[in-house]
Symmetry: C2
Subunit: 425 residues, 2 copies
C-alpha cells in the first residue's frame, strides 16, 4: 500500500498540499476505496444518436457512485467532470494498481476534498454519481475504443461529440439507475457547461444547478488556446491522422504542448508570480542555455509529461471541440441568452473566481442577469482567490462552504425537501 508515511514520499511535489485534503481511505471522511462501474447503454436495436449526426452502436459508460440512494430516490447529485477529469471524483481507485495507472495511486479522486461523509457533498446525505463522458479515455466509449465495424480503434473516425450528448448519456444512465429527479447537478469548467446544459435540456429533472468557473460559452480567447493545442497535436508527426494506437511513437510532444499552454490558462498571473517568479530550476537538470532554466518551466514540463502518461491525444481533440462548440444561447435561445434562460426551472448557483481569466467573472454576470431577468432563483458568488480557473478545485475550504450552504438551503419553489444525513458524522 502507498498510504500513510509512504504517501508523503510518493505524492506530487508540485501540488501545494496545504490546498488539498488527502483523506487516506481509512479516514472517516473518505469514501474509501472505489471501484468504477460500467454499463452498456445501447443495444443492437437501439444505438446512440449524437447531436452532430454520428451514431454509436455500442456505448459503454463508466461511472462511480458514492453514498446510498434514498428510498424515494430524491437525494441524487450528479457531479460532472472537466476536460482532464474522469468518473473517479472521490476516494482511492481500487483498480489503479491492476490497470497500472500510477498517477491514480498518488492522489485521490479529483474532488475528494468535496465529496465524502460529512463533506460538502455529504455522502451520508446524498447519493453522488459521476460518469465519464463520451470521447474520453477513462472507460466510457471514446476514440481509443474498438470500432465494431472495423475491429480497430476508432481514432478520428469516432463521431463528433457535444456537451448535449454527454448530458443525454448521463440522463440515460440515471434512467437505468432509477433516478428520475436530480436533487442537484454540479460541475466546474467543462463540467459547469454540462451542469448548465442539464438545467436547459431537462429542466424538470433538476432541483439545483451549480455552475462553477464556467458559463454559457467559452470566451473566444479560450477557443483560441484550444485551437493552438489541437494544432500542436494534429501536426505532431507521430499523430498519423489519429491512428497512432499500437505504434511505439506517439504524439507525445503535441499533447504535452497542448497541456502546458492550457495549464497556464488554469492559473492566475499573480499565482505564477508568487509561486515561481524567477526561481531557478536545480542546476543539474540544465544541459544547454535553451533548456529548462526556471522553476516555472520545469513545472510546466512536468505538467506536460505527466499528462501524456494519462491522457489520449484524440480524446483531447474531441473534448476541446465539445467545449468550443458549447453555446447555451445558440442552442436554446436562437442566440439570445435571455430567451434560453426562460427554460430553466432549477435553483441556480453561479460561482466565479476573481482571477479566473478563462471564464472571467464579468462574463458570468451577463449570464446571471439573463437568469434574473427571467425570475429564476439564482445565487451569484464571486470568490476572491489567487488560484485562477483551477480555484474550483483548489479553494477547498471556501468552495466547500459555498456548496454546503447552497445544497442545504430549502427549495420552496420545488417543494423538494433537503435529504437528511444518513448518520455518521
Amino acid at each position: 500500500m502507498v498510504f500513510g508515511d509512504e504517501f508523503n514520499k510518493l505524492s506530487d511535489d508540485f501540488v501545494d498540499r496545504r490546498q488539498w485534503r488527502y483523506d487516506p481511505p481509512e479516514s472517516l471522511t473518505s469514501v474509501g476505496m472505489t471501484y468504477a462501474r460500467r454499463l452498456e447503454l445501447t443495444s443492437p436495436s437501439n444505438p446512440f444518436h449524437l447531436e452532430r449526426g454520428g451514431v454509436l452502436e455500442t456505448l459503454v459508460v463508466e461511472y462511480e457512485a458514492y453514498g446510498e440512494l434514498s428510498s424515494d430516490g430524491c437525494n441524487a447529485i450528479l457531479v460532472t467532470h472537466a476536460l482532464s477529469g474522469d468518473a473517479h471524483a472521490a476516494g482511492w481507485d481500487g483498480e489503479a494498481r491492476r490497470r497500472d495507472r500510477q498517477w491514480r495511486l498518488r492522489r485521490p479522486g479529483w474532488w475528494d476534498g468535496m465529496i465524502g461523509p460529512g463533506k460538502p457533498l455529504d455522502t451520508n446525505r446524498f447519493f453522488i454519481i459521476c460518469a465519464n463522458v463520451i470521447g474520453s479515455c477513462y472507460g466510457t466509449t471514446g476514440p481509443a475504443s474498438i470500432n465494431p465495424a472495423t475491429g480497430k480503434p476508432y481514432g478520428l473516425r469516432f463521431p463528433e461529440v457535444t456537451v448535449g450528448d454527454w448530458v443525454c448519456m448521463e440522463a440515460m444512465l440515471l434512467d437505468r439507475l432509477g433516478i428520475d429527479q436530480l436533487y442537484a447537478v454540479c460541475g466546474g469548467s467543462l463540467g459547469g457547461q454540462q451542469a448548465l446544459e442539464w438545467a436547459l435540456r431537462f429542466p424538470d429533472r433538476v432541483g439545483k444547478c451549480l455552475v462553477l468557473a464556467s458559463g454559457p460559452k467559452l470566451p473566444t480567447q479560450g477557443v483560441g488556446f484550444n485551437a493552438v493545442g489541437r494544432h500542436a497535436i494534429l501536426h505532431d508527426p507521430y499523430f498519423r491522422g489519429g491512428d497512432y494506437y499500437g505504434h511505439a511513437e506517439q504524439p507525445r510532444h503535441g499533447l504535452a504542448v497542448a497541456r502546458m499552454l492550457a495549464h497556464i490558462t488554469y492559473q492566475s498571473g499573480k499565482q505564477m508570480d508568487s509561486r515561481f517568479g524567477r526561481k531557478l530550476q536545480e542546476e543539474s537538470l540544465k544541459k544547454g542555455w535553451y533548456e529548462v532554466e526556471y522553476a516555472v518551466e520545469s513545472y510546466l514540463n512536468h505538467q506536460g509529461r505527466a499528462f501524456v502518461e494519462r491522457f489520449d491525444a484524440n480524446s483531447y481533440l474531441y473534448m476541446t471541440k465539445a467545449m468550443d462548440h458549447y453555446d447555451a444561447a445558440g442552442a436554446w435561445g436562437d442566440g439570445d441568452l435571455w430567451q434560453a434562460c426562460k427554460r430553466v426551472k432549477a435553483e441556480m448557483l453561479v460561482a466565479t473566481f476573481s482571477t479566473d481569466w478563462l471564464y472571467p467573472p464579468e462574463e458570468s454576470s451577463l449570464f446571471v442577469k439573463a437568469l434574473l431577468a427571467n425570475r429564476i432563483p439564482v445565487t451569484y458568488v464571486k470568490i476572491d482567490s489567487i488560484y485562477g480557473h483551477d480555484a474550483f478545485l483548489l479553494e477547498v475550504e471556501r468552495v466547500g462552504r459555498m456548496l454546503r450552504a447552497f445544497l442545504l438551503s430549502p427549495m420552496p419553489s420545488r417543494r423538494t425537501r433537503v435529504p437528511e444525513s444518513g448518520g455518521g458524522l
Copy 2:
C-alpha cells in the same frame, strides 16, 4: 509596384486596416523607400564580449535611419524593436523585392504610423535610428549567420544574448555614428525593456526614455508562455538541435505553434470576442471536424504560417530567452527596484494599456512608484484600449498624441532644447 490600388488587394486581410496608417512611399508623411545600412562593429583585435560569457569575433549590425542628424548631434532618437520586429521601423523596404521578402512588400515598417515627416516621431525634427538586435534573423549577426570558426551557420552554438548586449551594441553603433547623447530612446514590449536598460546602463546618454507596454521584468506568466513556445520548437523533429539550415524540412510546426500561442497573449480577450466570437471560417477550408472551423482558428493559423515564412526558429529561442532573463532590479539594484531606479537620469514615460495582460498596468505602477520614490521625473499613462499588449502598435492615434506631447515637452532638468522642425509640414 504594389502601391495604390494594388495595395488594397495585396494587403493582409486580417489586419484591421482602420487602425493602420499605410502611407504609400510617395505620401508627404512617409519616409518613402528605405534601405538598410550595415556596419561591422568588431575587428579581429576587438571582438564583442557578451554579458553571459560568449564572444562574437564578427558582429555586423543592420540598421535604418530616417531624418537628418542636426549639426549639434542632439536630435537623435533610438527606436528599439520588439520580439518579431526589425530595423525596418518606417517607410517601404527598398530591398524587399531583391531579397524576396514578400511580406515586406505588403506593409510598411512596423511603426510607420509613428515615424515620418510631421508624425509623432517627426523626421523633420528628429533623426530616428532603429537597429536590428543581435541574435535576430533580420540582418544583424545571429544564429543563422556563418560561424567564422566552422564556416557553417552557428545554430545553437551562437552565444547567449541579453537585453544588455543589445543596448551595448546600440551604444557602439551610436558611437560610430558620432552620436553621444540620445534625445530619446523609445520602445514597446521587448523594445521597452531595451529603452529602460538604456536609462539604467547609460544614464548620461539618455534625455527622455519612453517605455511602452513593458516593464522591469516580464511577469512569470509570460515566461511560462515563452517556455511553452520554446518547448514546441525544441521538440519539433525537424529542429535537429538547431542545425536545420539547408534542410528541406524545417521546424515549421514548432515555430508556428509558438507564434500562435504568443499571438493570443498580444490581444485582449474582449478584442477576440468582439472581432471573432464564434464566427465560422469559410466552409470550403474545412476538411474534417477536427480542422479549422472558427474564424479565430483560421486567423491564428494564418499568424503561424505567416510567421514561419519570415522568422527563424533559433532566433525565436534566443530572443525569448533574452526577454525572460531581463530583470532591471536584479541587474542594477541587487533585486531592489527602488535601488535600481536611483541610476536613472532620463525623463521617463511609462505607458500601459488597460487590457494588456502580458505586461499588466498593475505591474507598471510598482515601477512608477520606484521612480517617483527616487524623484525621477516620470509621466505615467494608462491608455484605455481594447487591443491588449499590441495596442502600442495599433492605437496609432492615441499613442501618437502621447509620444508627440512627451517628446516636445521641454526638459528643464537636462537643459536640452527641443529640436526645431526642419521644415516641410
